[in-house]
């Protein structure tokens, strides 16, 4: 997980008096998240609880989309906490000039801080619906961020979003990456447990949507029959093609392999996989930035229009219809 910092108030010149003022704003920001968590993560039930995981995983996915990360591990721990590990570049830990604090601390404590708002750092990114990992931090009774970067292991711990100490060095390393361990605040999430199937389904979905990324899920609360920890590894090399095959597993297909298209138009990357089966129903699923758009929208409209027009034109031109008796 790596986030380059850009300042949200670029037109203001930084100086000492503003530093303290900004600091107060920061506290207000995270306080707002704690006051109205539903505004930021949907709800404070089981859905919101899972949303915390997606928010952290999305950051790692972004790092992977930028080409710097290949493995993401998600662990459900016995003490109701979650650990997300990636082998990305690691969140920057050097001093953030405008905030006069470590970049890591800014990312973890300032709402909307991160590279996602800068198209040059991440051309595309998932999780734009959220407010980032700082939101997860605010809603966690305890969060530990560990960064492997530049041969050094950095760490910072927070309670309800407030740092317990400045970023410190805790060792040396020969890898890079970010480890986030968070304990959802029981004062806010009063009920609900993580559901293995829900997490696994989302991990599978993400692996189909982002071919080549390995996502490992481990649930330390449960053991398989052979005594090993319950878990699964998701890796799709075929991406959406494989996704379509997965969806159609119990249907007889009409064409041997799904049709796959990967293109870009006006800086909008478009990926589509489609197949026909012998059933009589339609099954179209759509995503925007890895988010499932259940209600459809303009991308579905464009897809349908193109499908109908192209097939109609082809059928007319090819003369297949001439041989069909009505």
């Amino acid at each position: 997980m790596s986030v380059e910092i850009i300042c949200m108030s670029e037109n203001k010149a930084p100086n000492k008096s503003e530093y303290s003022a900004n600091n107060i704003q920061v506290l207000e920001g995270l306080e707002a998240v704690r006051k109205r968590p539903a505004m930021y993560i949907g709800d404070i039930g089981v859905k919101g609880l899972h949303h915390l995981i997606w928010e952290v995983v999305d950051n790692s996915i972004d790092e992977a989309l930028a080409g710097h990360c290949s493995h993401i591990n998600v662990e459900i721990n016995t003490n109701h906490s979650i650990t997300v590990t990636d082998n990305g570049r690691g969140i920057p830990t050097d001093l953030h000039e405008k905030e006069k604090r470590s970049a890591l601390e800014v990312v973890m404590t300032v709402l909307h801080a991160g590279g996602k708002f800068d198209k040059d750092t991440y051309k595309v990114s998932g999780g734009l619906h959220g407010v980032g990992v700082s939101c997860v931090n605010a809603l966690s009774s305890k969060l530990i961020a560990t960064v492997h970067r530049n041969g050094i292991i950095y760490q910072q711990e927070y309670n309800k979003g407030i740092p317990k100490y400045s970023v410190k060095e805790v060792g040396t390393t020969d890898t890079t990456g970010t480890i986030i361990e968070f304990h959802p605040d029981k004062e806010i999430f009063t009920a609900g447990e993580y559901n293995y199937e829900t997490v696994a389904t989302r991990c599978r979905e993400l692996s189909f949507l982002n071919a080549g990324i390995t996502i490992t899920l481990k649930d330390h609360r449960e053991q398989e029959d052979d005594g090993s920890t319950k878990g699964e590894t998701f890796l799709s090399t075929g991406g959406l093609k494989e996704f379509v095959e997965y969806l159609d597993v119990s249907r007889e297909t009409l064409i041997p392999h799904p049709i796959y298209m990967d293109g870009e138009k006006g800086a909008i990357p478009v990926q589509v996989a489609l197949s026909y089966n012998t059933s009589y129903t339609e099954h179209v699923i759509s995503y925007v930035n890895n988010i499932n758009t259940i209600e459809g929208g303009t991308h579905i409209a464009g897809f349908r229009r193109a499908l109908t027009r192209t097939l109609k034109a082809y059928a007319d031109k090819s003369g297949i219809l001439d041989k069909i008796k009505v």
Partner: protein
């Protein structure tokens, strides 16, 4: 393109957008720098520029695919034409089923033993497996509010049949006309129209053996695919006939499960020996006489009914296509996975 439209026009019917998407499975993934979300759950994309981008990409690449893979292209086009033909045939068949209602007197199927009450809320209809059980049910029922429709044999597996064939099937036609429903509302030509629904309880009554449960599944599949609204309203039920008759001298009691039987045997035995108690396993509804059928399964005071509900539409869809569809391996895998939860009926 207008010059090339001739051959489609020759088809005598229009090919609608729906026809191009019958049997289609697709995943679309776009990346948008500043997405605008609309809709009730904020899961509807609003950026207008995305529509054109997807349109251009898809047409371009689909065109290439069709040009390079003429065999697959032909199969897809034929599927589309079939879909269009089926849609027209289905509309005709639906209209036929409905027209009969208007023409032939009461229009009700000859096999239906209707009830005398005409208030749908008070009335119930039993869909009974087989003519013989149907006969006992007719004798045992309360004709005031209970109607009986016997169904012969295994009804059509609608999961594997095209829509227009479904309306040709005698048993399905009988069910539709007996229920008084029709297809097509002002908003949607395919939607179920329940305005004239004649019963607010539709009860499936089948034998307590493998065949019975298969027939029950076939009927459920039909209702799930074509009369889902009726399930959602909570009108569909399953009758639970007893599995055992426990007897000692002149006392007769019924049991609905193996555990239940053991309990009843003890109860009937009282202080006496359990060996003196005999029990009989009902394999079919036909083994019960009309009075027994009434007391155990049809009398609202004693019977137990299971209401059919659907928790997750998507999961139900996947399950029905798996269990009733063509592909065997996923079904076997599913059954093996769930075998430990199911009891084998020998």
């Amino acid at each position: 393109m207008p010059t090339n439209r001739a051959s489609l026009i020759r088809l005598k019917f229009d090919v609608a957008g729906d026809d191009f998407r019958e049997g289609l499975t697709a995943v679309i993934s776009v990346k948008v720098a500043e997405p605008q979300f609309e809709g009730q759950t904020k899961t509807k994309l609003g950026n207008s520029e995305v529509s054109g981008a997807v349109d251009t990409c898809v047409s371009e690449m689909l065109n290439n695919y069709l040009e390079e893979n003429p065999k697959e292209a032909r199969q897809i086009v034929q599927k589309v034409v079939l879909a269009a033909q089926a849609r027209h045939a289905a509309r005709k068949a639906r209209e036929m089923v409905q027209r009969k209602n208007v023409l032939g007197g009461s229009g009700l199927p000859g096999k239906l033993a209707d009830c005398s009450n005409k208030d749908p809320e008070a009335c119930e209809i039993y869909l009974v497996e087989g003519d013989s059980a149907g006969g006992s049910a007719k004798q045992g029922r309360d004709r005031m509010f209970q109607a009986i429709l016997p169904l012969r044999g295994k009804i059509l597996n609608v999961e594997k049949a095209q829509e227009h064939r479904i309306y040709d099937n005698e048993e399905i036609k009988n069910m539709i006309t007996a229920l008084g429903v029709s297809f097509g509302t002002p908003e949607n030509e395919k939607a179920l129209n329940m305005e004239k629904l004649r019963y607010h309880k539709v009860i499936i009554m089948t034998d307590a053996d493998i065949d019975g449960s298969h027939i029950r599944t076939l009927i459920l599949t039909f209702f799930f695919r074509y009369m889902n609204d009726l399930i959602e309203k909570g009108y569909l039920y399953i009758a639970l006939p007893p599995l055992y008759l426990v007897k000692k001298g002149k006392t007769e009691k019924y049991a609905w499960s193996d555990d239940d039987r053991d309990r009843v045997v003890k109860e009937v035995a009282g202080n006496g020996k359990e060996e003196n108690v005999s029990f009989q396993r009902y394999k079919g509804l036909g083994e019960m006489n009309p009075e027994q059928l009434w007391t155990t399964t049809m009398d609202p005071k004693n019977r137990s009914l299971k209401q059919v509900t659907i928790e997750s539409a998507a999961e139900a869809d996947r399950l029905f296509s798996m269990l009733m569809g063509d592909e065997v391996p996923p079904r076997r895998e599913f059954i093996e996975k769930n075998a430990k939860y199911a009891k084998i009926d020998a």
